[in-house]
Amino acid sequence: MAEITSLSDAVAELVRDGDTVALEGFTHLIPVAAGHEIIRQRRRGLTLVRMTPDIVYDQLIGAGCAARLVFSWAGNPGVGSLHRFRDAVRKGWPAPLEIEEHSHAGMANRYVAGASGLPFAVLRGYTGTDLAAQTATIKPIACPFTGELLAAVPALNPDVGIVHAQRADRAGNVQFWGITGVQKEVVLASRRSLVTVEEIVDELAPRPGAVVLPQWTVTRVARVPGGAHPSYAMGFSERDNDYYREWDAISRDRDAFTRWLEESVLAA
């Protein structure tokens, strides 16, 4: 059932104002090009979900797409802070940003519950931390057999889940390998899904460590070579570490950011 379309058509059809949208990819295979397309199509009021909001989320937030962020680690990995994220949280620029904050273990399990059709997940987590007091989506739950108290977190079922993969076949079956993160879970947990791929091939030859998503679990596939830049797609590209470092200066300043946005995203 996966339809192969252009990236702009896919985003136009799948992502609506006010949607809950998750772009996942754990350092590897981050669907950055899809994020830029969301910016270009000027979506507003999104609840953005991501374990590790990094540069592409800083860009989406700075561009005014987001009303809310659900996350567990927001930073520019190896460099420092996300300045657009900070500016939105502290100063409400360009729009106020609500946050819902978890740990990685909590977020990963929320996707697992979502992919599993369960309303919640159970984990040993958050005990003794100050997070539970700030985050309404963390509650205690007792084991019905031992009485032990654990943490419950509600399922995440985004309206749209977006990931980048190495390849798809012409029927829309998707294959990715290397660090596979929570990509399978986010696609299975989401109502609609978009996978951008490096290439479309006749046949998906089996590969060690590869995850395959059958075409009937994916809504749209778009061929976007390099669509994970500045992150990488194992076997296709290297991480552009300079881009991460240079983002720090661009994002520190609202004007520099706005210029960058005009030139590098909106004009593209």
């Binding site: 754990f26 350092t27 590897h28 190896g78 802070s81 273990a105 100050d130 660090i179 879970e185 991480r239």
Partner: protein
């Protein structure tokens, strides 16, 4: 005699704290550098587990991020992120959790969430929890590596992102946290360990050339220095050479600054 920086001393001391064969959950930045140094020196059998799902990674260069391709290419197994937390970290399979901190307090509690006293309107918004709360809870023991300053070493963290000893003895047991907690804190000035009676972080070792007063001045609570506190052995020539060779692998593959 070789010259070295205080960051080099800190990294070497952290590497030494890892015994060979240990299963180590590694955060990016200083912990990853120290763990990779240990693997290149006295602990070739160190098992590196990264939260990206790479188990038993054997990188031949310093990984630039927690999800560097070199980790997947060299790992015994690459698993999903939910699996690394659920099957590998949560059940207590990991010996040592290796963490950094933006703030750490006298009871070893760690803050990486906010600076300030209002979560909704912080002075500084930090990246947040990541894997740290569950690493601090579930690993058999935790080693923290962090530069020592009054801004970082505070009497009480502004926000408990990851629990050390809570507010003192018995708290981990009361909270039913399976691991022992932070057994060693390694800084650029020396090494701190929890007092066995009070759980208060106490300086048990100073790095060569660091005076006790300097350590006290860098600490936001009245720092106790153990009477038996000795001096850390300076970095050996081989340790320094291995560390510098490791860091050169970063410069070769990219000019990106390696710390988070």
């Amino acid at each position: 005699m070789t010259e070295w920086t205080s960051d080099e001393m800190m990294t070497v001391a952290a590497a030494r704290a890892l015994r060979d064969g240990t299963r180590c959950f590694v955060g990016i930045g200083l912990p990853s550098t120290a763990a990779n140094l240990a693997r290149r020196t006295h602990a070739p059998g160190l098992v590196l587990v990264y939260e990206s799902g790479t188990i038993g990674a054997k990188p031949d260069r310093l990984p630039l991020s927690i999800g560097d391709g070199v980790l997947a290419e060299t790992a015994d197994a690459v698993v999903s992120v939910p699996e690394v937390f659920n099957y590998w970290l949560q059940p207590g399979r990991i010996d040592v959790g290796f963490l950094g901190a933006a703030q750490i307090d006298r009871y070893g509690n760690i803050n990486t969430t906010i600076i300030g006293d209002d979560y909704r309107d912080p002075t500084v918004r930090l990246p947040g929890a990541g894997g740290a709360p569950e690493i601090a809870a579930s690993c058999r023991e935790v080693i923290v590596i962090v530069r020592q300053s009054p801004r970082t070493f505070v009497d009480r963290v502004d926000f408990v992102t990851s629990v050390g000893y809570g507010s003192g003895p018995g708290d981990r047991q009361r909270l039913n946290l399976p691991g022992r907690g932070p057994v060693t804190v390694i800084t650029d000035l020396g090494i701190l360990e929890p007092d066995p009676r009070t759980c208060e972080l106490t300086m048990t070792r100073l790095h060569p050339g660091v005076a006790a007063d300097r350590a006290r001045a860098a600490t936001g609570w009245p720092l106790r220095i153990a009477e038996s506190a000795g001096t850390t052995l300076p970095p050996a020539t081989a340790e320094l050479a291995a560390l510098r060779a490791l860091q050169a692998t970063v410069r070769q593959s990219s000019p990106a600054k390696e710390s988070a």
